[in-house]
Subunit: 218 residues, 2 copies
């Protein structure tokens, strides 16, 4: 893996110390996430829509209904921005001003390409299911022709991607360390709960291991 | 509270059953969230940037460094989209196609207004801190003149906001209920962890109750 050379557009401008560009960091953030926020503009109005995704090497895959406006717009090759964000902790500083959040985010700029051929489209659907729940593709019924037609798959290259990360304790003004306010972090992990079986589930179907052991950190 | 009349732009198009427009739902989703994704376009390129926010009645408040490009762009009154998303659960269907996520999201379209006067600006900063951690404003040092100048506060009206919610078990094709694949939900709650004191914290400063009891659901 090579280091991503950020373009002028993706270089993190405000706090350069928080900009991280190596592929490994970008891939880790993307692989841990479940929801991306897709931004596109139509008639000078931006829209930001949450949706699922997966990573296929150096491309992001997004999918949606073939009837959705967003997928139609994006299929046309307009500029898009896809952002994935993990909120890790609240950061409580002694001063209101320095309150912050620990987070990891990736911002991708580019244009989407429609995947039309059956074989790569099926592979993309496999990656989308495996991204959600590793091991699940073999544990469910694959898509039929009608479902394939009803699904639009797009890829966005990760050529122009940047990561931004904040970790650690609050940053304070020197004179504020003497204040008696509590300061520190409140971690905000996502903790998978006990699986809830479908009320229609037939008796005797056990919870699979990949569901029992479900977690996001790889 | 009245019902939000969705504009043509915010009406949920794809799955009308998932569109929810009442104020209460929109407010609840916004009040529980911590990070919004702000979308704006510059030179025909959309950008989607995660940031903190708060709600002040029928307005969303966002803030940032006065030196940030995003805040400067938005201050000019360009069209903006602000989206808040909660991912609640993975939904495992018997078919790959019907895999889904339970989520609650709000999409706001509008234009931002700069808050310049000291009194409303300080009030907005109070709301931002109280949105993060209720009770915290009285437990930290308020902003001084330099910090006020370094902060840009914008409001976006909630006039054109819509919510979209998916809850419940998988939706399957009728014939798939007979399959022997496990189906159900994996809940993905955010569970606040044990507070981590700042390494520089002076001895004898107790963890405040509002930190010990921290949670998002109101």
């Amino acid at each position: 893996m090579t280091e991503k050379a950020p373009s002028d557009r993706t270089r993190v401008k405000r706090i350069p110390g928080r900009g991280v560009y190596d592929c490994e960091t970008i891939y880790e953030i993307l692989d841990e996430g479940l929801v991306c926020h897709v931004g596109f503009a139509h008639d000078d109005q931006p829209y930001v829509i949450p949706t699922g995704y997966a990573r296929d090497g150096d491309n992001l895959i997004i999918h949606g209904s073939s009837a959705s406006r967003m997928m139609r717009e994006l299929s046309g090759g307009i500029n898009v921005c896809v952002t994935v964000t993990h909120l890790d902790a609240l950061v409580l500083a002694r001063s209101a001003f320095h309150h912050s959040m620990n987070y990891r985010s990736v911002v991708i700029l580019g244009r989407a390409t429609l995947i039309e051929d059956d074989a790569p489209k099926t592979e993309a659907m496999r990656l989308l299911v495996e991204h959600l729940i590793p091991g699940r593709w073999e544990g469910c019924r694959g898509p039929n022709d009608i479902e394939m037609k009803a699904t639009t798959i797009l890829t966005v290259p990760l050529d122009e991607a940047s990561a931004k990360v904040r970790i650690g304790p609050p940053s304070e003004e020197d004179e504020d360390y003497a204040l008696t306010h509590w300061a520190g972090q409140i971690p905000l992990p996502v903790v998978p709960g006990i699986p809830v079986p479908d009320p229609e589930l037939s008796e005797g179907i056990a919870v699979p291991e990949y569901v029992k052991k479900y977690g996001r950190r790889r």
